[in-house]
Amino acid sequence: MRTTIPVIIAFLSGLVLAVSIFFRPEETVIGRIEPELLVWVTIIGGFTLFLGAVSITRVNYNAVRRLKKGWVYNLLTLVSVFVMALPSLLPASWSPLFGDAEGSIYDWLFQRLDKPMMATMFGMLAFYIASAAYRAFRARSAEATILLLTATVVMLWRVPMGEALLRSINPDFPDWINTYVMNGVNMAVQRGIIIGAALGAASMSLRIILGIERTYMGKQ
């Protein structure tokens, strides 16, 4: 029963959604089903947020209680969760500090702490790219050497000074990179991967719809 009902739901949902794209939403019931089901998913997702809150509280509370390594971070997480969430849940009519409008505690924390921290994390990506590129571009084999040369040329082409340098060698050099490297070799490989991935996704969807694939429910 625990397997049969989800398999039936998966079959019906998958079949109806697959069929619905072939019918006009303005003229048929089946054509309108997709947006309707997406609303259901959003509603279910909203309810499950409570599960997330319970999980994050339990994990961090246990870590603090047992004074696990790095428990200070867990404590900070717990405090942050409640300091961000509680004032935003209280009605704004009680005080302008409540709710999530401009000037509220939530908005202040989001604009002055959350956003800059996100931007910092994203900014660090540049340094990570540099260290990964250093490892990837070491010319240890013929393939790695080709990769190194291609990457150097493409990187030069992407910055104005580099492009000017390439143009000084040959005025058509940047266009060749665009035509043969980016829109040629690079595009062909990307399309190969995309076609393979799309077929893999379609095949997996079909296996799920037909109930052949049940591993996502824990069945082997």
């Binding site: 072939f22 006009r24 279910i44 994050i56 991967i193 095949s203 997996m204 429910m217 824990g218 069945k219």
Partner: protein, 302 residues
């Protein structure tokens, strides 16, 4: 005038007396259309005739997968090439067990309605079985509560099936943060503090892919990644020991299960790939001869 659904219903009834209940359910939906659909009236009809080409492709693809699945059911031997990245999963868990350290599994950063996340959850089930068998600690941080619920279900099932209920802990799969970069920093912190011996990244990843993989690399873990997003693949290839590319991610659950029925689906997929290659070759020839406009239009979808 009879509409498309009614014609289909009559044709099916003539063909077989035993139409499955589910086909009748489908026909009920089709019959509920207010618009009349006929072959000679393609404008203003309920059926989108401009998508007929896509329907043909779906039918051919489904037929190929079903045919190979049927052959697999009949016991025909099916060859599936080795995928080193998937074989390495067991090796990575074994290494973690020997070192007495944890295995970190991240099922991507997308919701459960993304097929990549479903593929990742399928692989998580297999990984959980191995960690349960060896009693290796497993850590699964997730970004969405729905993925949390599905992940907990799959991991608990794996531990129960192996009779390791005592080793199962609800906090194995844990909700970390809903924000992309907050999730990333939390997981990076987890990697540096817990120092897992094996990191497995499967599913949909975005800008955080390299932040996660580089941190794992710095922490000295053996790393296996798998994603269908071509723009993230170079980052994983540079920072991980093994990378599953595109379709390999979707093939992983079938490959690991070794079940002929599921392997049949993979073979059907390969067959379609051959057809696509042939279609591309024909297209290249026709376009090169400057007579390929009609062929190009065949594959356009509105």
């Amino acid at each position: 005038m009879m509409n498309l659904a009614e014609s289909l219903s009559i044709a099916l009834k003539k063909k077989s007396k035993k139409i499955p209940v589910l086909i009748n359910v489908l026909l009920f939906f089709l019959l509920s259309f207010p618009g009349s659909v006929t072959a000679d009236d393609t404008t203003g009809s309920a059926f989108r005739y401009e998508r007929l080409n896509a329907l043909v492709i779906v039918v051919v693809f489904s037929a190929a997968v079903l045919l190979y699945t049927r052959w697999a059911r009949q016991g025909r031997p099916l060859f599936v090439r080795k995928i080193p990245g998937i074989d390495a999963v067991e090796e990575a868990v074994g290494r973690a067990t020997e070192m007495g350290k944890a295995v970190l599994f991240i099922p991507g950063l997308q919701e459960l309605d993304d097929i990549e996340t479903i593929a990742a959850i399928s692989i998580l089930g297999r990984v959980a079985r191995i960690t349960a068998q060896y009693e290796t600690p497993l850590l699964v941080p997730v970004r969405y509560p729905l993925v949390l619920a599905a992940g907990q279900e799959v991991v608990e099932q794996a531990y129960n099936e192996l009779g390791k209920q005592d080793a199962y802990n609800k906090d194995i799969v844990r909700y970390v943060a809903g924000e992309q970069m907050a999730f990333t920093s939390a997981v990076n912190g987890l990697m540096m503090r817990e120092r897992p011996a094996a990191n497995i990244f499967m599913g949909a990843f975005f800008a955080e892919s390299l932040l996660l993989a580089e941190t794992g690399n710095a922490a000295g873990a053996i790393q296996i990644a798998g994603t269908a997003r071509p723009e993230q693949l170079p980052f994983f290839i540079a920072a991980c020991d093994y990378t599953l590319m595109g379709e390999e991610l979707y093939a992983a659950s079938s490959y690991l299960s070794k079940e002929p029925l599921m392997l049949g689906g993979l073979k059907g997929q390969d067959f379609i790939k051959i057809i696509i290659v042939l279609l591309i070759l024909v297209g290249v020839i026709l376009v090169s001869l400057d007579i390929g406009d009609w062929y190009y239009k065949l594959f356009e979808m509105a």
